[in-house]
């Protein structure tokens, strides 16, 4: 740290301390937390499907055996031709795709120009939130680095029903805060022009969610 930034640091902290001098410092234990840590949801998977659909995302439900077919239908619907598959995507999902589509692995990392020319990406997620219709990627196995779910126009996400939780508190508790994370709720959207919602501004235009009953 050079001298100027050392001075800045000391000055800001001194000024904060001077402002707080003599005032009461509360303890974190005194924060009331009377909100719901859990929400009574009869079927999280059903609520999740309903809430995702509210964002104009395409939602499909499948059992484990039917999941590859549901992914194929989603890609057909999006008229995709070139598909990128992240490292660690289970072979049962990846193999049927490789037979039908021109697929790309991201190992070694694809150059941005190649990724830009890909139509779709197929991933799974770490956790999903029923009451908000959100999928959360921590970019671990089967989810790819962040650019993979950002540049292609279509994102197909396989959500195992066992990973769907009721609400935000349960989702955060299930995540590792040290990892990079992307919370996705529907396709990218803007409401900046007369508050009319338009999908697909900078991120993916289409979000397809396949809820896989893995019970």
């Amino acid at each position: 740290m050079n001298r100027a930034s050392r001075d800045g640091r000391r000055a800001v902290l001194d000024s904060v301390r001077a402002a707080l001098a003599g005032g009461e410092r509360t303890s974190a234990e005194s924060i009331p937390r009377e909100y719901r840590r859990q929400r009574p949801v009869e079927s999280p998977a059903e609520l999740f499907r309903e809430r995702v659909a509210d964002y104009r995302a395409e939602v499909r439900a499948a059992d484990s055996a039917g999941a590859p077919e549901a992914v194929l239908r989603a890609l057909e619907h999006a008229a995709a031709g070139r598909v990128v598959l992240p490292e660690g995507l289970p072979a049962t999902w990846a193999e049927p795709l490789a037979e039908r589509y021109e697929t790309f692995d991201d190992r070694p990392p694809l150059p941005t120009a190649t990724l830009e020319g890909v139509d779709a990406v197929v991933t799974t997620c770490t956790v999903a939130i029923a009451s908000t219709g959100t999928i959360v990627l921590d970019h671990g196995p089967g989810q790819g680095r962040r650019a993979l779910t950002l540049l292609p126009d279509t994102h197909v996400c396989l959500v195992p029903a066992s990973r769907i939780v009721d609400d935000v508190p349960a989702a955060l508790a299930a995540l590792d805060p040290g990892r990079p994370m992307t919370f996705v709720s529907g396709p990218s959207a803007t409401s900046d022009i007369e508050l009319e919602r338009v999908e697909g501004v900078h991120g993916p235009r289409d979000l397809h969610v396949v809820v896989v009953d893995d019970a």
């Binding site: 005032g23 974190a28 005194s30 909100y35 219709g133 992307t182």
Partner: protein, 484 residues
């Protein structure tokens, strides 16, 4: 920091202009009404909203009362995760640090995700004067930047522009800074968004430097949280090699778990959605994924001074959701520009005078830009008592600007004292006033001469009644034979 000239007319002058603009009032009325209804619907879905709100307020209040230690904890966590923390006392210092960091990369352009903090310090202008182009990538922010306009809403900066105005701005200005707008561009929002996508895609893929703000900074983990809708935030946080985030010191929250409160409060209060399309969390650098060089600039710029004000400091709890703008009868009629600051609406009226001081007439007039109706407090997700703060700041304005206020009140009070000091004079004054009432009819009184103009400059004086109480008493007593 104090006595800053915001370079804008003071609120009363700007507001008088704005309320005459029928198009602006129409755009604003539609927009605020729509967001208000959406917000009410999704907030109504949570039966524990008031408990979430109480927790949100308490977490922020607790953090502020221990801000020094949480800032140090945040710094250690960021450093441990491979990032670098810088500290900036004021706008000039923050701009110097960011400019230097961009220069070190050898680049002369950067992509930017909308950030209130960087607007507050005038970063784009500072970078421009150092020969660095900073491209705004949020659609609304792009509209504002291309038009060399100013944002008029925290969340929807181009709320004052309709689709045909946006089409004209794109057709006129896009070519000057990259991919031009298509020749056959219509005013269909889908086409306009598509034009913005094409214009910016090239910049996202080329840029090696990105500049962002943050909605939350987690002390425990060193994580920065960026909440957005369009994906431009993800682009900036993911594609370039160098990332510089400018973060106000009040953005710190203690723990990862605290986000469970704010990620419920913010999207519902802000855009009226259960969750915004994208939220990114970034802790330092991750090998092979995202930027390899990450800097956080912690910005004071008047915040520590506001922290010293026991009542005023609660404005620092603000999570910039803009719910208070959308319910404010004053904002709805004047728009954001009238506030002359990057923070408009009720929260701007309490935050701006605290960050910049009340020495200038521009900032001193802001606490008066309110009807004190209390709607802003009702919707605030962290329960900032904005009406109480406005009154507090009015008091402070009066105290600190004593000379100005004294001159005004001495003249007015001396006149009033003279009138009230004698019953005959009072009777005569009332007869004059009620004559005025008959003359003006129901039209009301426009502008009165100085010193009463200090009142009528910003509001209509009510028409005096056609008959005063004294006159009524005389008339009815005379008609009453018992003399009662």
């Amino acid at each position: 920091m104090s006595g800053v000239d915001l370079g804008m007319p003071s609120f009363p002058d700007a507001a008088r202009q704005a309320v005459r603009d029928a198009q602006l009032r129409h755009n604003l009325g539609n927009a605020t009404n729509t967001i208000r209804n959406k917000r009410a619907a999704v907030v109504g879905e949570l039966d524990d909203w008031e408990q979430l709100r109480a927790s949100g307020a308490a977490i922020k209040a607790h953090t502020l009362s221990n801000l020094d230690s949480y800032l140090e904890q945040f710094e250690s966590a960021v450093t441990a995760a491979g990032g670098t923390v810088h500290w900036a006392r004021d706008a000039a210092e923050a701009n110097r640090i960011v400019t230097e960091l961009v220069r070190e990369t050898g680049e002369t352009e950067a992509v930017k995700v909308k950030s209130m903090a960087t607007q507050e310090i005038g970063l784009n202008e500072a970078l421009a004067s150092a020969g660095i182009s900073a491209w705004e990538t949020d659609l609304a922010e792009l509209i504002v930047q291309l038009d060399e306009d100013r944002p008029s809403h925290i969340l929807v900066p181009a709320i004052h522009r309709n689709r045909s105005e946006i089409r004209e701005i794109f057709r006129r200005e896009m070519a000057g800074s990259g991919t031009p707008a298509p020749a056959d561009l219509t005013d269909d929002p889908v086409q306009l968004a598509e034009a913005a996508r094409h214009h910016l895609r090239d910049k996202f893929l080329r840029a090696r430097v990105a500049i962002s703000g943050a909605n939350f900074a987690v002390a425990e983990t060193g994580g920065l949280v960026v909440v957005e809708s369009e994906g431009n935030g993800r682009m900036c946080l993911t594609m370039p090699e160098h990332l510089i985030s400018v973060v106000g010191i009040e953005k710190v929250v203690p723990s990862w778990r605290d986000l469970e409160v704010f990620l419920q409060l913010l999207p519902r209060s802000s855009t009226g959605e259960r969750m915004n399309p994208y939220t990114s969390v970034l802790s330092g650098v991750t090998a092979g994924d995202g930027p390899s060089d990450f800097h956080v600039v912690l910005l004071d710029n008047g915040r520590s001074e506001a922290l010293a004000d026991e009542i005023g400091s609660q404005a620092l709890r603000c999570i910039r959701c803009s719910a208070c703008l959308n319910v404010c009868p004053v904002y709805e009629r004047t728009g954001g520009h009238a506030y002359g600051s990057v923070y408009p609406g009720p929260i701007g009226a309490v935050l701006t005078p605290q960050l910049y001081g009340v020495e200038s007439e521009d900032t001193a007039s802001l606490p008066y830009a309110s009807t004190l109706c209390g709607a802003c407090y009702d919707v605030c997700p962290v329960a900032i008592e904005i009406p109480e703060l406005l009154v507090h700041l009015r008091n402070r304005t009066v105290r600190e600007r004593k000379g100005w206020f004294d001159r005004l009140t001495r003249t007015a009070m001396r006149a009033m004292g003279w009138v009230f000091g004698d019953s005959g004079r009072l009777a005569r004054a009332q007869r004059v006033a009620s004559l005025g009432g008959r003359l003006f009819g129901r039209r009301g009184i426009g502008r009165l001469p100085w010193p009463l103009s200090r009142w009528t400059d910003a509001r209509d004086a009510p028409t005096p009644p056609a008959e005063s109480f004294r006159q009524w008493w005389e008339r009815t007593r005379t008609n009453d034979e018992d003399g009662r």
